[in-house]
Amino acid sequence: MTSVQFGRVAQADFFTTTHRISGQVNTGPKPLSDMLNDRSLSYMMATNVYVSRLLAPGEIVTHVPVAYLSKENLSFVIVQAREARQAERTRFSAQEYRALVTLPAFEITGRFLGPLRVDMQVFSPASLDPFLILTDATAQIVALPEMTFCGEAILVNGARLESFGLGEW
């Protein structure tokens, strides 16, 4: 990508149930998690985008200079830790849990920073950001369990969740 950009550029891997999309997002002064959790925007623009099919996620099938990603259809996003900012309320009263998340086509494990007491209220849309943060996380494709994707942080789309398992770390 040779065009001049202002602000911070985050490199990320976006996963849907069918594709892996690697690209850059200009996030301005904020981390990528803030853009994903911004409920006022349904789409996000990525540049210098390389697309792989989920069944062969190492092979690049196409490149496009710009792509608009539908946030609600993303399953998860792999980012560097600095691109994942915990919500204020979580940062100040939190406990670390071991989490196992299932969503269509994927299983993800990692560390989840949650409230001291977890109850149903935690999962209400009002108290939860659209994208949950798992750190030191690993995602697996259910159909290809030997295929793993690791990241300092994985941002999981809460709307795509099937189950959210928590255990003590």
Binding site: D13, I60, H63
Partner: protein, 366 residues
């Protein structure tokens, strides 16, 4: 001084990597897309290629495959430097032919240390001239082509080493046919005595295993065999470019004999149980007369359906020629590239073991 080529579509990053490498004593050139990178590499023949994977024209994996498919660039150390950091990305890069996978962002110090380590490891393995293994036989039908083909395939399996099989059975050689080579182009018809590898490149065919092949012409040409100087020149060029050169030869070597034996590092003399010991002794004496003292000669036995028969024959050969038999190949019907289709068969295992012995001898670790 090592030559490095940096291929990356992000110009500032290319310049930065160039500065790191120049600081470490490399001579650096750059290319800003995959296609330009492939053509620059063929022109300058770098020792090291730093390769971005996500590039808009052709991706780094395809660049890597093209570099490995061209004998002029096949021996370069290739480092994939990419933001694609997943285990599958590393696998894909290594499968495409990269020697190393490094993840962006990176530190200049780490990059330089890693490439120096990689080049040092490769330098310790590489020889100034390729190791030439020549297969000789006293008669037809002993499986020499089968062995030449499979041995070359086994040597090509060695990581970081580039091998070629040269078919000098010009009146009907089968190496190309065994490996599925379709075209009938031949070096005999079009080899004009070029002074460089560039003249040979269009005639070298790369098998999917990574083995380069110079097939015999199909159909055999109605012309006189090549002069000895042409063969000598050919061998000089290919030995300059490949780590291993495996040569299948006809029964009658004619004028090629002295050239072939002089340049050989190792002769595999392929024998079958119905061989006359007298003929073997005469052949061996003739080989020793034409070759240098450093030439290694290894008898290899093939062609007996029963192992007991082969064992008896081994004793006879060792007694008659005073050389240990290097390998006894299990009998296998037909002639096929077993290293590809039946990689776990007894024959493939025996040939792989023989290849390890050859590699050990070549690198001085035997």
């Amino acid at each position: 001084m090592f030559k490095a080529l940096v291929i990356d579509d992000e110009a500032p990053l290319t310049a930065l990597i160039g500065r790191f490498l120049e600081g470490a004593g490399f001579r650096v050139e750059s290319a800003t897309c995959g296609i330009e990178g492939v053509s620059r590499a063929a022109a300058i023949r770098p020792d090291l290629v730093i390769l971005d994977i996500m590039m808009p024209d052709i991706d780094g994996y395809e660049v890597c495959r093209r570099l490995r498919a061209d004998p002029r660039t096949a021996r370069a150390a290739i480092v994939a430097l990419t933001a694609r950091a997943q285990p599958i990305d590393k696998q894909t890069a290594l499968r495409a032919g990269a020697d190393m996978h490094l993840v962006k962002p990176f530190s200049g110090k780490t990059l330089v240390e890693q490439v120096q380590e990689l080049l040092a490891a490769r330098a310790s393995r590489l020889r100034p001239l390729g190791y030439q293994v020549t297969l000789l036989r006293l008669k037809q039908g002993v499986g020499a082509t089968m062995l030449a083909t499979n041995l070359a395939l086994a040597l090509a399996e060695e990581k970081g080493q580039v091998a070629t099989a040269i078919d000098l059975v010009l009146n009907g050689g089968q190496i190309g046919d065994m490996l599925g080579y379709q075209a009938g182009r031949s070096w005999v018809e079009s080899w004009p005595g070029d002074e460089a590898i560039d003249g040979l490149v269009p005639h070298l065919w790369r098998h999917s295993s990574g083995l380069f092949v110079l097939p015999a012409p199909v159909p055999p040409p109605d012309v006189a065999p090549p002069e000895a100087w042409r063969v000598a020149r050919l061998l000089q060029i290919v030995r300059g470019w490949f780590d291993y050169v495996v040569i299948d030869t006809p029964v009658a070597l004619g004028t090629m004999a002295s050239v072939l034996l002089e340049s050989s590092s190792l002769v595999l003399l392929l024998l079958s149980p119905d061989e006359s010991m007298r003929a073997v002794q005469v052949a061996l004496a003739a080989i020793k007369r034409s070759a240098s003292e450093s030439l290694q000669i290894w008898p290899v036995l093939n062609g007996a359906p029963a192992q007991t028969e082969l064992s008896r024959f081994k004793e006879q050969v060792e007694q008659a020629v005073g050389l240990p038999v290097a390998a006894m190949l299990p009998w296998s019907p037909g002639e096929q590239p077993v290293m590809v289709g039946q990689a776990e068969s007894p024959l493939a295992t025996a040939i792989r073991t023989l290849a390890q012995q050859v590699a050990g001898l070549a690198t001085g670790s035997a």
